[in-house]
Subunit: 303 residues, 2 copies
């Protein structure tokens, strides 16, 4: 993801970040790089990024909606020439889909964004769009209706598990606080239905895992994000098992995303077993989802 | 308020708590005592409480909705004989108006409670009811429609100032987290309209100020409540000034409540002036609303 400091804005930035990741890469994976689309982005930057074989997408963060998005976009129409270039060179546009206006009610910001998205979709029908970490029934419906092969959405495991009740319904739970904020039970159910529908091709896993240090979450102005990395695949498995859809899990986690990006499927496998284990309270000073709790599925091996 | 540990359940408890307050009373005020209504409450307890001249009301907390409400009420129909006794002896019933079911969406819990409240209202038409710290347009409307002289509501200053956006719309703000949770901008506007309507008699000030220590707010499971005591009257004044209704302020803060409870108006006065001052970041380890910020109105003198 390109929302680091300093941001990854160009092919050169991405190359540098790629090499940095490779130096710390203990698992021999190939990072798939993105650049951040903001008001400094030009069609030339897009074309140069497309030439780089390591970059698969440009990501757009509306101004102020999430971590390090102060330099985000507030007027999407300023980016028409950038979207045109992305459509032309076939670079995927990934979007954090919330309208960046503080006066809009927080639970309505994703739904409001769909109007803007419809404008982009209609103007650039061949542009490949991924609406990231969707949180509402409306967004799931939009993807299905306006979708076709050029539109997809990612769904995090925390948006399949949490509702706003898990953030503010009992005691305040900062480790469940993320953007977009978790919504109503009906929204969560619609997301579960979307990802578990047999044969669906437009929804795939995207963790949006956010390793914020505990002191930046448990404080007077807490960071948005849920840390799911240590529990991600076990909890996706839990969701699919509860929906009686374990047979759809691989498609969602390992096939649809690769197909959308035109990447080969991974040859490796991950095997999960139903074997309870207790999640650590923290990992390197970061509190994970289900901290200290027992969860049912465990990663047995990765080959 | 009776939701202390141990709870104030009887006239004897209230008497003991009254004397404790008087011992620490540096301002020479007369505490108005309440008892907590729960499943242990009997008609006899109500009649004994009514005999005590210091007790003005019984307060009912649905189970689990707020601080120290684990012993609250989950089935209101169990209390029919208690409500009957309260109606008979004319003891005011104060309610935290949220349905105590975790499966109900947090923003809907107050509106759902209005159905229960309509049942109580219809069954006991002479029972005097105060719906405490209302947070929704629906509750304000309910009070106006079902009200008459036997029904009123209190409105906190934080529910006149905050919306859910101020809790989860930007960074997470635990010091804005309270129960009922602040709702939509439209709800806040309806509350402002209700309290500032010329000649209204059914809405009056109730602070619900909650002095939770900073470490119980900025943590993994934060307490609900906003600490407004140091800024209460200046901020109510700010709300009324912005609504161009300063002439309605005294009615709301100092007349309607006393009239509803049948108490004499206070003879003393409080004078506020428009003179900016900076709120302390903390008061005795508790973070107030508008901590560290400049506010416009100041208490000049209390006579």
């Amino acid at each position: 993801m390109p929302n680091v400091l300093p941001p990854i804005l160009t092919a050169e930035d991405a190359q540098r970040y790629y090499e940095e990741i490779r130096q710390h890469n203990h698992y021999d994976f190939t990072p798939l790089m993105t650049i951040k689309i903001n008001s400094s982005t030009t069609p030339e930057i897009i074309r140069a990024a497309k030439q780089s074989e390591i970059i698969i997408a440009g990501k757009l963060y509306p101004e102020g909606v999430t971590t390090n998005s102060e330099d985000g976009v507030s007027d999407f129409y300023d980016l028409w020439s950038v979207f045109e270039a992305m459509e032309e060179v076939d670079m995927v546009l990934c979007l954090h889909g919330e309208v960046p206006k503080p006066e809009i009610f927080c639970l309505d910001r994703e739904t409001e964004f769909l109007k803007i998205l419809s404008g982009i979709r209609n103007k650039f029908p061949k542009l490949r769009i991924v609406l990231e970490h969707i949180s509402t029934a409306a967004a799931a419906q939009w993807v299905l209706e306006n979708g076709g092969p050029n539109t997809a959405a990612t769904v995090t495991v925390h948006h399949l598990l949490l509702t706003l009740n898990d953030v503010v319904g009992g005691m305040l739970q900062p480790h469940h606080f993320c953007k977009p904020i978790a919504k109503r039970p009906q929204d969560r159910q619609r997301l579960i239905d979307a990802v578990t529908t047999p044969g669906q091709t437009q929804f795939f896993a995207g963790s949006d895992t956010a390793p914020h240090a505990i002191e930046t979450k448990e404080c007077a102005a807490g960071c948005a994000g849920v840390f799911t990395a240590p529990v991600l695949w076990p909890l996706y498995t839990e969701v699919f098992e509860r929906a009686d859809a374990l047979d759809q899990l691989e498609t969602f986690t390992s096939v649809n995303g690769a197909n959308f990006y035109g990447l080969p499927l991974n040859k490796g496998t991950m095997t999960l077993v139903k074997e309870p284990w207790q999640v650590e309270p923290t990992y390197g000073g970061v509190v994970p989802l289900r901290a200290g709790q027992v969860i049912e599925w465990r990663i047995k091996e990765i080959n």
